[in-house]
Amino acid sequence: MSRLIGSTVLRGAVGATGLLVVLEAAGRTGLIDTTFLPLVSTVLARAAELAVDGEFLAHAFASAEAWFWALALTIAVAVPAGLLLGVARPAEVAARPLIEFLRPIPSVALIPLAIMLFQNQLHMRMSVAVYAATWPVLINTIYGVRDVDPLAKETLRSFGFGPGSVVLRVVLPSAAPFIATGVRLAASVAIILVVTAEVVAGGINGIGIFINQAGSGNRVDLMIAATAWVGLFGIAVNALLVAAEKRVFRWHHKRLAGVS
């Protein structure tokens, strides 16, 4: 098992290093204009400096806080809503026009409105992120719920369980792995939106604020280094979520995993 993890990490490292080497070579040979896109090595050096820069860490922490609460709220809202809409077809049909109307509205357009509605920068960022991150969880939950084996539901119904129990004990566990994929999608959407909201709307602190400041000084290297930390955060979050899924959905992977 630990050897397996080892080889996964190793391969990932090989892949990432490969890309970095290619980019560095492209920069050095002039394939990419380094006046606008700094060398990979430069960015890495800046990123390493940022890691121990207290001011940057404060920015990063503010963003991470908004991200965490946004994701938590998203799950708390979207999963129950998705279960309801997935189970109760009439409810889904009724709500569909509203959902499909709201879904394509860019959060960017809503930022000034969110500013009017929320007094606090944390709440404003959260609201924007929740708005965008809800959809992947909601849609995946609805599709996951629809994919539940009807016989599994009928079994519990035949034992006299009511709809609530069926949802809780059959539909939710069956759909959970696919919902989890939605949550992983939402996790990165929430990161994106928190940072974008900071870039667009400004504020007291947050990675987006740092990026704006770096931009004002034309420090593209710092901008990209900060962006790189955002991406690394994404990798870390995804790895955590995947590890959690592997534990919780052991039955799912065992049962469905490809041929041994």
Partner: protein, 310 residues
């Protein structure tokens, strides 16, 4: 209304509590030299001396800072006059300029084009060209339009392409736009990267044009007269310092922007104002009216809240 970011509104810290209605202020600034006086006032303790605790919030621009001011997330903001007047006219909110901050000096804001682009050498060549500005409907578009008009060219609004300042160099290079409107430190940077200056947009009709001032909501000013006065007093000292001592600015620039000390020492700066002049600002309103940025005429007196003494 509560200030954001967890800054609490206690008065205990202040020693010279002279009955201020609100002692803790959140000020929206922009990471450009225009905001320097706030940082100076904080660093030099001018606000503290007035019993004020000031926290800065770094804004991306007027389009989002203005609603924050209306909603009360910000108590004060650095507003560029063009956006501000336009917002006031459109009924976004009622504002008061409590202090002037910054006015243009030669070569503060220039138009640049690719050095090897022979088709564009001056403002007279701008007809039909795509021009990158940081914000639409603001000082940039107004300055370019006015400058071009003097050169005999009418600029259509559709020629302006909005984009963040750091992206402009790349956009110019790959031909997404034909010209860019930039300030320092981007002027120096782009010069090194093969761009040439084709016009100074702060000359002629735009010479010494007021750029930005410190703005509060009308409501706030009415409700907190003492706080406003205290803020004005502290800021006046800082404006004074900024206007007279370039070193003071060079010192604070790296604190709220990522302009480093070396760059700060060489870049061209505008002029920091020490008075709030109705006549100067009326010029902004009139120019805006001339270019269709304002529908009706606009009497700037209604938006001024001059300091009580001096």
């Amino acid at each position: 209304l509560t200030a954001c970011g967890g800054a609490d509104t206690n008065t205990g810290a202040s020693t010279t509590d002279n009955g201020l209605e609100k002692t803790s202020l959140t000020v929206g600034i922009i990471a450009v030299p225009d905001s320097a006086p706030i940082q100076i006032a904080i660093d030099k303790g001018f606000f503290k001396a007035e019993g004020l605790t000031v926290q800065t919030s770094i804004e991306a621009g007027g389009a989002t800072a203005t609603p924050k001011l209306v909603a009360g997330q910000l108590d004060v903001m650095l507003g560029n006059y063009v956006s501000l007047f336009s917002a006031q006219e459109k009924g976004v909110g009622k504002f008061k300029v409590v202090a002037d901050s910054y006015q243009a000096a030669p070569d503060n804001f220039v138009l640049m084009a690719k050095a090897d682009d022979a088709t564009i050498n001056s403002a007279a060549d701008l007809a039909g060209k795509k021009i990158a500005v940081n914000t639409l409907n603001a000082i940039g578009t107004l300055a370019v339009t006015a400058t071009a008009k003097v050169a005999g060219v009418t600029i259509e609004t559709g020629q302006f392409a909005p984009m963040p300042l750091p992206d402009m160099g790349g956009a110019l290079k790959n031909g997404t736009v034909d010209a860019i409107w930039v300030a320092e430190p981007f002027i120096s940077a782009n010069s090194q990267q093969g761009a040439k200056k084709i016009a100074d947009t702060m000359s002629g009709p735009m010479a010494d044009f007021p750029i930005a001032g410190w703005v509060m909501s009308d409501d706030f000013v009415t409700k907190n007269p003492k706080t406003v006065a205290a803020f004005q007093r502290a800021l006046a000292k800082a404006q004074q310092l900024a206007a007279s001592d370039r070193k003071a600015i060079e010192e604070v620039l790296p604190k709220y922007t990522k302009i480093d000390q070396a760059t700060a020492a060489v870049i061209a700066l505008g002029v920091y104002s020490t008075t709030l002049s109705e006549a100067r600002l009326q010029r902004v309103a009139d120019t805006m009216k001339e270019y269709g940025y304002l529908q009706q005429g606009f009497d700037v007196k209604s938006v001024l809240h001059a300091p009580a003494a001096g």
